[in-house]
């Protein structure tokens, strides 16, 4: 069987794998959920950020005197007033909290204001005077790479360069029967989490508590401690209900929270800082625009024998998360295929624009848009079916990835392709749609991806997670984790894992949002890692407690502990299930006897490696997916409608099929936006459409019925066999739609987004008419 080791005893599970209701749904439907901007404290002030209007300039003079005089203003803070270090630590630590001598993009923070109301703070901001000396600005990443380009940072404009060198690509191109070479370009994507960024900082004693809408509470802790000059132990981060993240609340909350924290520290009062939508869209990190030059070598039978890829992402003015983004982009550039000869260069490049960062897919959707069109086009050129050419080249158990990693378990990629063929009625529709005439044409397209779960070799120092589990005196269970809920369903999935591991029903589990006081630094809630990392940490803690419980039960029941098990709140003799005792009863006895029923669990991921040549075991395991999109293209207007959609995922064991389905549907919808609608316009470093009227995200009318399927190639190291799911849902979408457009019209669109206008002109250029 090609999908690897199947876990034993899957059929024995009582909660994992079941459609358990989302544990945070009740508070969200009743209005009881508290997002950061729903919180109020006595004497609370409102924060506001004064920002640069210049893309690249020296600050000659900054005058905040008049601003400070506005009644109701409690503080105006500039770079010189920051108590600690003026750096927001992310990775390369090049980003100041407040610009001091130089600004590098429009919207860069220069000063912070705390006032009685937001309106007063804005009035004060209007009184701040800055004298700029403009510097030559650069807005194009390819231009920025040139030798003579103006330097945005002293170290140069290339933040990070990763590469893969395997085999002999030039030889592959010589031996090829078919070479396909194209340039693909992709635009920004803005997250549009419906809740904009915000943080509330409350000074408490000699420390500070920050309520933050974040995916990464420990990043926020590090940033706040750094700007205040405090030890991290005195910085407590409480994650509020988060109104969507998608990567947008990975790096940004570090500075939003640090801004609020500085104001709170200086004024000694609670400060709420809430970005409005426009400010959020103008200043928050987005998906990187990508430039991909992709050359592929095929043999006549469709075998992919070599690729050469140059991939450049526009990182904006500061590096923030661009180094790991280009790491993932580089590793994922070859796709889910066996390729003996690989040459990839990935560059993250500075420009004088808003910094770009993490967004679901993390540097991979741009290269997927390229490689999935390359292989699709090869199928046309070689007279093969696009699904067959993928099956021919796709990785299998025991195969070697582009980085030379041998895949030893859990490789479901071919299963996803086969399942997608079956559920979409692929062959029939390929044939039927090819014969269509008239002005409305249909097409069906496929896209297959590989996704490295977790942070990979570039982020392995963060690849650990903790969980604190305690059974209270009444038998109810507190489970605390360091990864956060942002709507993806993590709290529910982890509660299921906790319940399964302890043998109790899910209603006994209380698993709230993150509080950094309760759990050791567990790294970020990103990279589809929470289920595996926190799940395993919970199991580790649960097993320690279970052992103690069974010892107590053993004395009560006169049965050796190894013969006992717990299920549905009952501890019983596995040889004679009639010999049993209630879970709560044993908890009561255990407490009376002084037995410990609390534990900190810990999980450290398997090692990953990546050498100078870009070779190694880049990620500890991979998820896979194949999507099929069906589109209808109006040849007269260029408008593309997605009329049907099939998403097949291998994310190992699915802990909760209902929340997983919802996560996939949402990811596909977001991918449809990326593919067809979302078009951020940036002119001379200024974002021209920072609002939801002019930057369109999918409404319900843009989303077809998305059918979701899982093939579960279980991962032996994962909790109950699970891998990761969050990011892969979006990754294949744009390429699947582009391939469907190619099928419908014969025209390949190599630039995102594929708006009606773009498609219209592409069709016109190729003389395609109804």
């Amino acid at each position: 069987m090609s999908i690897g080791i199947q876990m034993e005893k899957t059929e024995m599970l009582t909660i994992v794998g079941k459609p358990v209701k989302r544990i945070d749904a009740y508070e969200k439907v009743t209005g009881l959920a508290r997002y950061v901007r729903d919180l109020r404290f006595q004497n609370m002030l409102y924060g506001f950020v004064f920002r640069s209007t210049e893309p690249h300039a020296k600050i000659k003079k900054l005058d905040v005197k008049e601003a400070k005089k506005v009644p109701g203003v409690y503080a105006v803070v500039t770079a010189d007033d920051i108590p600690g270090e003026n750096i927001v630590p992310i990775i390369l630590n090049d980003r100041p909290l407040l610009a001091k001598d130089k600004v590098r993009y429009i919207g860069e923070a220069i000063a912070l204001i705390a006032a009685e109301t937001k309106e007063i703070a804005k009035i004060a901001a209007s009184k701040i005077k800055v004298e700029y000396e403009p510097l030559p600005a650069i807005f194009d990443a390819l231009e920025a790479m040139k030798e003579d380009a103006p330097k945005i940072h002293d170290s140069g404009n290339i933040f990070t360069h990763y590469k893969i060198r395997k085999g002999d690509v030039e030889k592959a191109f010589k031996e090829a029967d078919l070479i396909i070479e194209n340039v693909y370009q992709t635009n920004y994507q803005e997250h549009v989490y419906i809740e904009p960024q915000g943080a509330l900082a409350v000074p408490e004693g000699d420390g500070i508590t920050v309520y933050s809408s974040t995916q990464c509470p420990y990043y926020v802790q590090k940033a706040v401690a750094n700007v205040l000059g405090l030890p991290r132990s005195k910085v407590r981060i409480i994650v509020t209900t988060v109104g969507g993240g998608f990567g947008g609340k990975e790096d940004v909350p570090s500075w939003v929270s640090a801004e609020a924290a500085v104001l709170a520290w200086v004024t000694k009062r609670p400060v709420l800082l809430e970005y409005d939508r426009e400010e959020d869209m103008e200043t928050s990190s987005k998906r990187h625009p990508g430039y991909v030059k992709y050359k592929s070598a095929f043999k006549k039978d469709g075998t992919l024998i070599g690729i050469k890829v140059e991939y450049v992402i526009d990182a904006g003015a500061y590096s923030t998360l661009s180094p790991p983004v280009i790491f993932r982009g580089t590793i994922h550039a070859p796709g889910p295929y066996k390729i003996p000869n690989v040459w990839v260069d990935g560059y993250a490049v500075a420009t004088n624009k808003v910094p770009t960062g993490a967004f679901r897919g993390f540097g991979s959707p741009q290269v997927i848009f390229a490689y999935e069109q390359q292989i699709d086009e090869a199928a046309y050129k070689l007279g093969l079916d696009p699904a067959e050419i993928r099956l021919k080249n796709a990785l299998d158990l025991g195969d070697e990835t582009a980085t030379g990693q041998i895949l030893r378990y859990s490789v479901g990629v071919k299963e996803t392709i086969r399942k997608a063929i079956e559920v979409s009625d692929w062959y029939r529709k390929r044939k039927e749609y090819s014969l269509m005439e008239g002005t409305k044409r249909r097409g069906i397209g496929m896209s297959t991806i590989i996704y490295g779960v977790g942070l990979g070799a570039a982020g392995k120092i963060l690849e650990r997670s903790g969980a604190t589990v305690q059974i209270t005196t009444d038998g109810s269970v507190i489970v605390l984790v360091g990864t956060s809920e942002m709507g993806q369903g993590m709290r529910t999935v982890l509660a299921q894992i906790a319940a399964e591991a302890l043998g109790v029903t899910i209603d006994k589990i209380y698993l709230p949002e993150v509080d950094t006081l309760a759990v050791p630094d567990s790294g970020p809630t990103v990279a589809s890692r929470a289920t595996v990392m926190s799940g395993n940490a919970i199991i580790d803690a649960a097993e320690k407690i279970k052992e103690n419980l069974l010892k107590v039960a053993s004395e009560e029941l006169n049965v050796p502990p190894e013969r006992l098990d717990i299920k549905d709140n009952v501890i019983f003799d596995t040889d004679n299930p009639n010999v049993k005792v209630e879970f709560d009863k044993i908890v009561e006895i255990a407490y009376a006897k002084g037995v410990k029923l609390a534990a900190v669990g810990w999980y450290h991921a398997p090692d990953t490696t990546f050498n100078e040549q870009g070779l190694g075991d880049a990620y500890y395991v991979y998820s896979y997916a194949t999507h099929v999109a069906e589109v209808e293209v109006d040849l007269e207007t260029g408008k593309v409608n997605v009329i049907d959609y099939y998403a097949v995922h291998d994310s190992g064991k699915i802990i909760n099929p209902v929340t997983a389905e919802g996560q996939v549907q949402g990811g596909v919808a977001q991918g449809i936006g990326y593919a067809l609608l979302e078009d951020l316009v940036v002119e001379n470093g200024k974002i021209m459409n920072p609002n939801l009227t002019d930057y369109l995200i999918p409404s319900i009318k843009d989303v077809p019925n998305i059918k979701v399927y899982f093939v579960e190639a279980e991962y032996p190291e994962g909790p109950f066999g699970a891998k990761g799911l969050g990011e892969p849902c979006l990754m294949p979408v744009a390429a699947a739609i582009a391939n469907a457009i190619r099928h419908a019209t014969g025209v390949r669109i190599k630039k995102l987004p594929m708006t009606a206008e773009k498609v219209f002109f592409a069709l016109k250029e190729h003389g395609v008419r109804g």
């Binding site: 209701k21 749904a25 009740y26 989490y193 109104g243 426009e278 919802g662 549907q665 939801l692």
Partner: protein, 159 residues
């Protein structure tokens, strides 16, 4: 101006209030009704929706002067935490909630749609809730939940 409004069946009187104050600010800041969200500030995303005399209104672009004497409904008034409204239960049942930020607005729309016409089809629901944006779910379970509630209302009516 002097303002009288009825929010979730409770009467509120304000002796002196700025007529241009946004309804959303009145609800959130003066009355502490935080289920009403602010997502875009310009009436596009729809998460600030409340029902005014039974009709969906965007509270972020509605001045309080427009609602004097009117009845306003938010999810807090639809059901109680102890006894959620059937529509709220269907949202849980169908997993129509992810991050939850658009959820109160979606629920109010669903309530309005079904009240208007319990025979509503999925296609009609789709059209009618399009003013509210959701970034998490892909909308599919939201339609399912509202449709299930419509069917529930119909069954109840037929009894």
């Amino acid at each position: 101006m002097k303002l009288t409004i009825f929010v979730n069946s409770k009467k509120y009187e304000f002796e002196e209030i700025d007529p241009n104050m946004r309804l959303v600010d009145l609800l959130r800041d003066k009355l502490g009704i935080t289920s009403v969200k602010i997502g875009c500030e310009n009436g596009t995303c729809g998460v600030c929706t409340v029902l005014v005399d039974g009709v969906p209104v965007r509270s972020c672009i509605t001045p309080v002067s427009k609602v004097n004497g009117k009845k306003i409904l938010t999810v807090e008034g639809l059901g109680t935490p102890e006894n959620p409204h059937p529509l709220q239960k269907f949202f849980i049942e169908y997993d129509a909630v992810q991050c939850g930020f658009c959820t109160p607005a979606m629920i109010l729309y669903g309530y309005y749609i079904v009240k208007k016409n319990p025979d509503v089809t999925k296609e009609e629901i789709k059209k009618m809730i399009s003013p509210v944006l959701c970034r998490c779910t892909g909308y599919i379970p939201i339609i399912e939940a509202i449709k299930a509630y419509a069917d529930f209302v119909k069954r109840r009516r037929e009894k």
